[in-house]
């Protein structure tokens, strides 16, 4: 019983990470109706920037917020400069460009910061008041941070005019222009937000798995699974999906398949969700009158 509880809690802790990656993916999807295959690599690159700042003597939270800001700007610029010209191009073109970005960011991480594995300290020290029996201080702290991010995003999309405008621009860019929304800038905003969230996720993950250019590859896959499971257009769903994926991963690993086929589990989850329940558990089914 003790062991089972441990697996579940550990799964929930991992789930926070998957959920945050899923959140970034949902962000871009909501804003642009595209899936950003380069999300993981962008997050890794952001984390490297934070690492480098901390190595240069910056205090943790200073480096954290600066990295988030830089990532936001970077995401915005990527959209404005590289993606805007192909806004109207077919899906295939966009996907190929995303793959191109994936390769470039991965290469940049290796090029500027080399391939040796680095350690990245958590801002939530081990022996603080936050440590409990089932959760380490870091897990608790990251959960808090991500919860704040989630609440902020949810409120942003639901209650602010810009959030509504972003959703409108994603769903129907032509009509959005007819109400005066600057559609191109909405897309840029979406990318900026996603890049910022990705950076936060990367910084929460790095203390656990250590920092190297390929840090996010497997995690990205889990992020995809979580995003799809929760409904690709639902931020809350993404987080819940993350928890489900995290717990499933641990339970299946400990009691059913063994720990070696984790990526296959993610694959099966993705395919099953896409074929059986494409809108995910919490996604909205959009009704279209033909």
């Amino acid at each position: 019983m003790e062991a089972l509880l441990y697996q579940i809690f550990s799964g929930l802790a991992n789930g926070i990470i998957y959920g945050s990656v899923a959140l970034a993916l949902v962000m871009i999807y909501q804003a642009t109706h595209h899936i950003n295959f380069a999300q993981g690599e962008m997050a890794t690159f952001s984390t490297f920037i934070a690492w480098w700042l901390i190595q240069s003597g910056w205090p943790y939270w200073g480096a954290f917020f600066f990295t988030v800001a830089v990532s936001f700007a970077g995401g915005l610029l990527v959209q404005r400069i590289i993606l805007k010209p192909i806004e109207k191009a077919p899906v295939m073109t966009n996907v190929i460009v995303f793959i191109g970005l994936l390769l470039i960011f991965n290469a940049f991480s290796g090029w500027f910061f080399d391939h040796t594995i680095k350690s990245f300290d958590s801002p939530f020290p081990k022996d603080s008041a936050l440590t409990t029996k089932y959760f380490s201080a870091h897990q608790f702290g990251s959960a808090g941070v991500l919860l704040l991010v989630l609440i902020g995003l949810f409120a942003f999309f639901k209650f602010t005019p810009i959030g509504l405008a972003m959703r409108a621009a994603a769903q129907n860019p032509d009509s959005a222009r007819l109400v005066g929304i600057r559609v191109s800038w909405m897309l840029g905003l979406g990318w900026g937000l996603a890049a910022a969230i990705g950076a936060i996720a990367g910084m929460m993950v790095a203390p656990i798995v250590f920092l190297d250019p390929n840090m996010m590859a497997g995690i990205l896959l889990y992020g995809f699974a979580a995003a799809l499971l929760g409904g690709i257009d639902n931020p809350l769903g993404a987080v819940i999906g993350g928890f489900i994926v995290g717990v499933l991963e641990n339970l299946l690993g400990a009691y059913v398949i063994g720990t070696e086929l984790k990526l296959t589990v993610a694959l099966v989850l993705i395919v099953a969700t896409l074929t059986l329940k494409p809108a995910g558990l919490f996604g909205k089914k959009v009704v279209v009158r033909v």
Binding site: P161, L164, A165, R167, A168, Q171, N172, D174, S175, A176, R177, L178, V179, G180, I181, R182, V183, K284, V286, V287, V288, R289
Partner: protein
């Protein structure tokens, strides 16, 4: 009387294909003007050209400001609300969210809430369905929503593309009655594109007839309505 809209030598293209050839027309403030013509005459293109959704050349002056060359969003922010063919509703968003978006460009929350209440009074069915996904509304309800959304902008000029399309006659009559009310009470100038010529001529003050991208005929709608030879030759009734 001042001219709200003056269009001179307007040409428009879809890609490499030219569709409008030196179209001239104008609209007085507070008036309703109809653009009539057969399928493919260029009526929808004219409205799209005004909003700079298609490539244009020539001159479009709205309230003294040149519009050609601006982005669609900028034209809208100048006070031009376009109800496109097909309604253009945000089918994935709720009725209320659609209305909020209509007022997005104005950025004034208090006025927006005020206007939304007025729309609900005018179209009670929308109030009933305010939290429903817009895509689940019937055709007539969506048209009411589309018009309301356009009005949320408090536009100087309302462009309507085939509002009667695909709707039952009773609902069309209702919508046209409401459009007349909007014009009279709120003093909204309208440019109306319609295939149903008799309906349009009943509502409008002035009319232009387009034929393969050119203006073939123009005049006060009463004159056109009562001229039998024009009606038979061009309007089919």
């Amino acid at each position: 009387m001042s001219k709200l809209l003056e269009v001179g030598k307007l040409c428009a293209w879809y890609g490499a294909t030219q569709v409008l050839y030196d179209v001239d027309f104008s609209l007085e403030a507070g008036h309703i003007t109809a653009i009539l013509g057969a399928n493919g005459a260029g009526k929808t293109t004219t409205l799209r050209a005004l909003c700079q959704v298609v490539k244009t050349s020539g001159s479009v002056v709205l309230d003294g400001t040149q519009v050609v060359g601006k982005s669609t969003e900028s034209v809208v922010r100048m006070g031009v609300a376009h109800v496109p063919d097909g309604r253009g509703t945000f089918t994935g968003l709720s009725v209320e969210e659609n209305l909020r978006l209509g007022a997005y460009a104005r950025g004034n929350k208090a006025e927006m809430l005020e206007d939304m209440e007025r729309m609900f009074t005018r179209f009670p069915i929308l109030k009933q369905r305010r939290h429903q996904q817009a895509g689940t509304l019937s055709g007539g309800e969506q048209q009411m929503l589309a018009i309301s959304r356009a009005l949320m902008l408090r536009p100087k000029l309302l462009l309507l593309d085939e509002p009667s399309f695909g709707l039952a006659p009773l609902i069309v009559a209702e919508i046209f009655r409401i459009m007349r009310t909007i014009n009279k009470e709120d003093h909204v100038s309208m440019l109306l594109v319609e295939q149903n010529a008799s309906l349009a001529l009943d509502l409008a003050d002035h009319a232009y007839l387009l034929e393969t991208g050119r203006v073939a005929l123009s005049g006060p709608s009463d004159t056109i309505k009562n001229d039998e030879s024009v009606r038979r030759a061009y309007l089919g009734y």
